[in-house]
């Protein structure tokens, strides 16, 4: 038999002025199971809590109903009080008679009547409450960072700094990501390599950081605090442990006509290569698609010149499996492919380049050693046209609906750098809007316009046509002047939209995290939890979550690290006990619940059941991982048999509340 205590709070006059608290306590005292019903000035005060605790002990209460302010305010207070008096904290229910009663009603009679109904509803619910215990789940003190760009490096460094082991998985032969390809950064115009490469070195030298370069995540199992990840180390045909990075092999390799990815294919590299001088790890990699030894078995030069004996043409992909407590996704971005943009003649004319290609063209380590020359004839360009929003803010199928965010600023940077170095070069920028929110951003842009006389023209470029004399005709409209323009350009630079890396979507599936329609990872809450995914233990760093510039990326990387550290600091995680659970005897194993679970908390097991007639039957049944379940209840409605229920908000509890209200 239930022994329920009801405690009605006056909240000074906040409640008592419009609700006859004595009448409420009196009326609720007659509800079935209620053995004590009291009112008090301030229930949340020390002495109010004392009242509750004493009643729990003296009356041997099995349930407590507090009629007071919103549970959002003091539910925890009263739960703790109950716990300290020896009552399971989940046997406490709050009737919200302040925010949802006394504060919104003026008439004492009707407000009192409503307060009684709300109290009665809480009593009806508490009758069905069950003691709930929070589960503890241990945390593996190691983090995985997926992606070794600036975001991944920063996150890894911060986590290592806090004293935790961290692994970076990078799909390319070196870490560094997009930032390594960038020449200068806005708005300070300092050299990207100068600030990035020390961090790369720091990461490689930090004894808590393990870098798995040329590797991919192959499989993810488990849940927050205890993920098991399978990492595929792709064969690079060079023994990482032996290679000294001397580079002799790359010099001697006879196959030198391989498009160089690092320079955006603007020059060539050898079949065995180190992406760039500051690569980390500085280890050579053989490209099996071009290596003559691999293709025809005739060569073997690299093997001959390697004094370390690191070359291994027979190397295979290997897999390692590792446990992690937290996973940070930092898969970054890529400029979109411009194959569909025939109007800009990107595929037709080598002097129409993307901004990232321009970065390489201007970089001292780039194909031209830092002198800006036209890719077609290596001549000095006198007129350069920049086209903004190529594929960004697009309604059509070709482009992306969002703003890529970084293009306005890097274009101002490019324009400024060109005007600085080549004052005889005229620079035109065609834009829809110039967006410069950010510290010193607008000043930076204005410098480009005012100090460097870059021609900013609001308008769209309609058509880019390569001409027979090697020049490029840029046909555009000037919206402010209201006229059509033809610019005789030497080069055209397209600010291509950026998109998440292609590896992001299969990864999201493995991680059971969510993505938006553009394949950016979705944060758990756009304002309050911007660096966490909705899946516990998975954090988001950098542009994989949305377009970002370097300062924002680094900030988010550190924030994601902080969140991961917060998790790794714990020895175990206390789970919310109000989670779903499946009654295996009723479960059909139909998978409906699994499909609506946003957290991947539901798995299926084949289980043997002893039937009432003593036969046995193996059935597929759902099993909820309470450490992963967040308690939304989506599964409970998806389940046709009612096998799935939610602790703390069970079907019977909610129906009891409905009954009590409608009575």
């Amino acid at each position: 038999m239930q022994r329920i205590g009801v405690f009605v709070c006056h909240c000074g006059t906040n409640i008592a002025a419009t609700v006859d608290v004595k009448a409420v306590a009196e009326a609720l005292g007659h509800e079935p199971g209620v053995v004590i019903s009291q009112e008090y000035q301030y229930m949340c005060s020390e002495s109010g809590q004392e009242l509750v605790k004493n009643a729990i002990k003296e009356q041997k209460l099995t349930g407590v109903v507090i009629c007071s302010c919103s549970p959002r305010m003091h539910e925890n207070t009263f739960r703790k009080a109950a716990a300290s008096a020896g009552l399971n904290p989940y046997l406490v229910e709050i009737a919200n008679i302040r925010e949802q009663c006394s504060w919104i009603h003026k008439d004492i009679a009707t407000a009192t009547e409503k307060a009684i109904i709300l109290g009665r509803t809480a009593v009806a619910k508490v009758h069905l409450n069950t003691p709930l215990t929070s589960m503890e789940s241990p945390v593996v003190k190691r983090a995985l960072v997926i992606g070794g760009g600036i975001a991944g490096i920063q996150t890894a460094l911060d986590i290592a700094e806090a004293g935790f082991d961290v692994d970076i998985v990078e799909k390319n032969p070196t870490i560094g990501g997009k930032m390594a390809q960038i020449d200068k950064t806005f708005p300070t115009l300092d050299c990207a390599a100068c600030i990035l490469t020390p961090k790369m070195v720091e990461a490689s030298q930090n004894e808590r950081i393990t870098i798995h370069s040329f590797s991919e995540v192959a499989d993810v199992k488990g849940f927050v605090g205890n993920f098991t990840v399978k990492i595929k180390k792709k064969a690079r045909f060079v023994d990482e442990t032996k290679c000294t990075g001397c580079g002799l092999c790359t010099e001697k390799c006879p196959m030198k006509k391989v498009p160089n990815e690092f320079n955006m294919g603007l020059d060539n590299r050898s079949a065995i290569y180190i992406p760039f001088a500051q690569a980390v790890p500085k280890v050579a990699t053989i490209d099996p698609n071009y290596c003559m030894m691999m293709k025809s078995g005739k060569c073997g030069v690299c093997s001959k010149v390697c004094s370390a004996g690191a070359i291994d043409y027979k190397q295979q992909d290997t897999f390692i499996e590792q446990q992690y407590g937290a996973i940070v996704v930092a898969t970054g971005f890529n400029p979109i492919k411009l194959d569909k943009y025939d109007e800009f003649a990107y595929n037709q004319c080598p002097d129409v380049v993307t901004s990232l290609e321009l970065e390489r063209l201007m970089n001292a380590a780039g194909p031209n050693g830092g002198t800006l020359l036209r890719p077609s004839d290596k001549s000095h360009p006198h007129t350069i046209v920049f086209v903004q929003c190529v594929g960004s803010r697009c309604d059509d199928e070709k482009g992306k609906p969002y703003c890529s965010k970084i293009c306005c600023m890097y274009t101002a940077k490019h324009a400024m750098l060109i005007r600085e170095k080549y004052p005889d070069t005229e620079v035109y920028v065609f834009y829809i809007d110039v967006r410069t929110p950010g510290k010193n951003f607008d000043e930076f842009y204005r410098r480009a316009v005012e100090q460097y006389n870059v021609h900013y023209i609001k308008g769209m470029v309609g058509k880019v046509t390569p001409k027979s004399d090697g020049k490029i005709d840029v046909q555009a409209s000037d919206l402010l002047a209201g006229e059509q323009l033809h610019i005789n350009a030497d080069m055209v630079v397209l600010a291509a939209a950026i998109e998440p890396d292609k590896t992001a979507r299969p990864l999201a599936t493995m991680l059971t995290t969510q993505m938006d329609t553009n394949d950016f990872f979705t944060e758990a809450h756009p304002k309050l939890r911007p660096v966490e995914s909705a899946t516990a233990g998975i954090f988001l760093s950098g542009a994989c979550q949305g377009p970002k510039d370097i300062p924002e990326t680094v900030a988010q990387a550190s924030a994601a690290a902080a969140k991961a550290i917060g998790l790794l600091c714990k020895n175990s995680i206390t789970c919310n006990p109000c989670v779903a659970h499946s009654d295996e005897l009723m479960c059909n194993g139909c998978s409906s619940c699994e499909k609506v679970c946003p957290y991947g908390a539901i798995t299926y097991v084949d289980k043997e059941f002893r039937m009432p007639d003593r036969s046995t039957k193996v059935r597929r049944v759902a099993s909820v991982n309470p450490a992963v379940c967040q308690g939304c209840g989506a599964c409970t409605v998806a389940c046709p048999s009612g096998a799935m229920d939610l602790s703390g908000f069970s079907n019977s509890q909610i129906m009891a509340e409905v009954d009590a209200i409608c009575k």
Binding site: P32, M611, P612, D613, C662
Partner: protein, 339 residues
């Protein structure tokens, strides 16, 4: 015998309905008849029988038994029993009329079911002789002559007239009450109709079905028959057979919380259901085979064992027509007999 011309029948109905509730079988839709409270203009069905049996009049699908209220620690019980008004059912077939005597054995033996008795006392059953039996009819198997139906009053149709014959005191009272409409009539044509109907009865596909191999003493012979597995294999465990059956009489008692009190009611239950007679320890019949066997053993063995050889079936054929998978007592009897 006293008769009324069919052309005046509805006049008679109007007069009867003016005094008490009269129920007649009428078409709900093409091919489906049901008993409905008579109102002027309503027509008798041409169907042989109603989809639901006539047992509903005495043993309705749900029925409130009591009400009580909880107030603190007090329970206040309210007796809701009250005398029902007199009513008349017209057009009951011989099989359904026979089913009442079977239900009587269950509900009127000690302790008497006062709810059933109340309705039985106040209801007058007027039967109608069959002239056009269906292929699913096998009442003859259970010793019923559908051309001479039972009930308080038996009616016979010779094509032009309806003849009334009182069988009970209640019946006599009823015939008396409508005497103004009746006149003496010549039964020659009626005899002809009856003879023809009996001839057809003899030619029905199930005419030779017999209960000879069944009865109260056959428990050991059939209970462990390996036929049950095959027979029950396709049974989907619904309650169609039970609920259209005029003799099935099992019910469950439940409480319903209205929010301002508890209503205790009974409702039909089916031994085909997995939660039938579910008790604290579970269900005594765990498999559909056991549940299926229960229903037919009850009708063919257990019921006669406890009721002087009376079988729990009247051969109305409703289950033959309505079972979703066409499994029925006839197939069961034939299979068990085949050995």
């Amino acid at each position: 015998m006293q008769k009324i011309s069919k052309s005046r029948l509805y006049e008679l109905f109007d007069a009867v309905a003016a005094k008490q509730d009269l129920y007649i079988p009428t078409d709900r839709e093409e091919g489906a008849a049901e008993y409905k409270k008579y109102e002027s203009g309503m027509k008798l069905t041409k169907e042989l029988n109603t989809v639901r049996s006539a047992k509903d009049f005495f043993f309705p699908q749900t029925e409130n038994l009591a009400e009580f209220r909880l107030e603190g620690k007090n329970i206040e019980v309210k007796d809701i029993r009250e005398e029902c008004d007199d009513f008349v059912i017209f057009g009951v077939r011989a099989c359904d009329a026979k089913s009442f005597t079977i239900l009587d054995k269950v509900f009127l033996c000690e302790p008497v079911d006062s709810f059933y008795k109340n309705r039985r006392d106040h209801g007058t059953v007027i039967t109608m002789a069959c002239t056009r039996p269906a292929e699913t009819c096998f009442c003859k198997t259970f010793g019923i002559d559908p051309t001479v139906p039972g009930g308080d009053v038996s009616c016979f149709d010779d094509g032009e007239n309806i003849f009334f014959l009182a069988n009970t005191e209640k019946g006599e009272k009823f015939v008396e009450s409508i005497s103004a409409f009746l006149e003496d009539g010549d039964t020659d044509k009626l005899m002809e109709v009856q003879t023809r109907a009996r001839e057809i009865m003899g030619k029905l596909p199930l005419a030779n079905l017999s209960t000879g191999n069944f009865g109260g003493d056959k428990l050991n012979e059939y209970f462990n028959s390996d036929k049950w597995a095959e027979l029950s294999e396709a049974c989907i465990g619904c309650g169609t057979c039970t609920f259209v059956c005029p003799t099935c009489q099992c019910y469950d008692i439940k409480d319903f919380n209205t929010g301002h009190g508890i209503k205790r009611f009974r409702c039909w239950d089916s031994c085909m259901y997995s939660d039938f007679t579910k008790m604290a320890h579970g269900n005594p019949r765990l498999t559909q085979l056991e549940r299926f066997r229960q229903r037919f053993m009850h009708k063919l063995v257990y019921f006669p064992a406890n009721n002087d050889g009376e079988f729990g079936c009247v051969g109305c054929g409703r289950c033959l027509a309505k079972c979703p998978i066409s499994m029925n007592i006839v197939k069961v009897m034939k299979a068990l007999e085949a050995k």
